[in-house]
């Protein structure tokens, strides 16, 4: 208590002395303002178009036995750009058999205002199945095994090949002059950048193998995550 009184007294004496010497604690002041408006962009990623569907039968013979069809669902509209994309693509193959394959070409679209990069492609399988990523085509092909374990089918998901068309001009009986992925120029989706209002042509291919069982239905899901381009992690 006694100490506080001393401090206050010292402060009063100091102010008094300064005022005598012409120093007064007073000033004019003025102020300016910053008004900030941050209009956030949007990041909206999805499918918009099924471009083309084809299968082994289109090349090897005249029959129409199996069929591979893509459908789009779960529309979502970007409020910023007004564009609509679809969040779910369902690829359904019917009456499949060993050596049959079906390819669908579709677009992955950036309907937002921020560039995106594909950060992650994740394959999800039901219980009892396992996936072995291809060492030759990492991130683009998986071998799917059941619990026996036998190879049931391969799944390919890749950016449209640069050399599209070159490998498809072979006369029936259609045969690739080498591994499909090499001849066709398969490249993984991860790391591909899509600018706003742009699309990435993408293909999915499924080819059932000898040990796929008759009259069975196999399912899988693939999640494709896109991230704002400046936060991409290689």
């Amino acid at each position: 208590m006694k100490m506080n009184k001393k401090i206050m007294a010292t402060f009063a004496v100091l102010m008094f002395a300064l005022s005598i010497a012409g120093f007064v604690y007073a000033h004019w002041s003025d102020m300016v303002y910053i008004e900030a408006t941050v209009e956030m962009g949007s990041l909206t990623f999805g499918f918009t178009r099924i471009v083309r569907e084809w299968d082994w039968e289109d090349y090897a013979n005249e029959k129409e036995v199996g069929n591979g069809v893509c459908t789009l669902s779960e529309p979502e509209t970007d409020v910023h750009s007004g564009k609509t994309v679809y969040k779910l693509l369902t690829f359904t193959i019917t009456a499949a058999y060993p050596q049959y394959w079906a390819i669908n070409k579709f677009t992955l679209d950036n309907a937002g205002t921020i560039p995106v990069k594909i950060q992650r492609v994740t394959l999800i399988l039901p219980a009892g199945f396992s996936a072995v990523p291809s060492p030759d085509y990492p991130g683009a092909m998986w071998e799917i095994y059941d619990d026996r374990p036998e190879l049931i089918y391969n799944v390919w998901l890749y950016k449209e090949p640069l050399d599209y068309g070159a490998g498809w001009e072979i006369d029936p009986p259609w045969d690739f002059p080498g591994p499909f992925g090499d001849v066709y120029g398969v490249r993984a989706l991860k790391g591909n950048q899509i600018e706003p209002c742009n699309e990435l042509l993408t293909e999915i291919c499924v080819d059932p193998k000898q040990d796929a069982e008759e009259c069975h239905t196999y399912t899988f899901s693939i999640e494709i995550e896109a991230i704002q381009w400046n936060k991409y992690t290689p």
């Binding site: 359904t92 193959i93 058999y97 009259c215 239905t217 899901s221």
Partner: protein, 236 residues
């Protein structure tokens, strides 16, 4: 008290990082592909609707086959039937797995022709590209005497069944005995059958002089089919 310190440190780190432009935040979006692969079925069967038919013939002096038996007698007998019903769950169609041809009281120059329909009750086209033909000769007590060997050097499914007397698994005319002529015919081999389609085939047999009395010949014919797009892997 300890918690407050930890919280203060975390806050301090976050403020420090943000001051340098490092913020753990990003936008991302995700889409999903659902894949559904419905496998078809490859099911070759004998026809569920039309039963097999068995005919007898005898050969006249002009070398022409005549229906029935010589002099109109009822000596031999042949029957044909399908057994082992199967069901294709995919196509919801029925068929049979086995054709049984029974010939009793047969004799040399007795001709038995059987017709039956193959039906593709699956969803995948099939090529019937061949047959596996084996057999046995049994005595009246049911004991196997010899195996039967299929002999068809030109591969047209018009061949012969020989008793493998020396048991070496190959036909040796000097030792083995020809007992039955066998012909399996259709318009063409390999025979393609599309889903829901049927093709009639005929199995013709006639018994040779050396076929032994009171013995029983069992012939097993397996029809070989393959999905039509894999024919080149099994058929020359």
């Amino acid at each position: 008290m300890e918690n407050k310190k930890i919280g203060a440190i975390a806050l301090l780190i976050a403020i420090t990082l943000s001051a340098f432009g490092l913020v753990y935040a990003h936008w991302s979006d995700m889409v999903t592909i659902d894949g559904v692969i419905e496998m078809g079925s490859l099911t070759l069967s004998w026809d569920w609707v039309e039963p097999p038919l068995c005919y007898e013939f005898w050969m006249d002096e002009n070398g022409q086959l005549q229906p029935g038996e010589f002099e109109g007698k009822l000596v031999g007998e042949c029957t044909a039937e399908f057994v082992d019903e199967i069901y294709d769950i995919h196509s919801d169609k029925y068929g049979y797995k086995k054709l049984i041809i029974s010939v009793t009281n047969a004799y040399p120059q007795y001709y038995v022709f059987t017709t039956a329909k193959l039906h593709n009750i699956g969803t995948i086209p099939i090529f019937v590209y061949g047959f596996e033909i084996t057999g046995e000769k049994k005595d009246s007590a049911g004991n196997v005497v010899y195996d039967l060997l299929w002999y068809d050097p030109d591969g047209d499914w018009a061949g012969e069944l020989w008793e493998d007397v020396d048991g070496d698994g190959t036909v040796d005319p000097a030792v083995d005995i020809l007992v039955i002529n066998l012909l399996i015919q259709n318009a063409q081999w390999p025979l393609q059958i599309d889903p829901c389609n049927k093709e009639k085939i005929e199995v013709d047999m006639d018994f040779k002089q050396e076929a032994e009395e009171c013995h029983h010949y069992s012939i097993y014919i397996t029809v070989l089919g393959v999905q039509w797009n894999k024919l080149d892997e099994v058929y020359p």
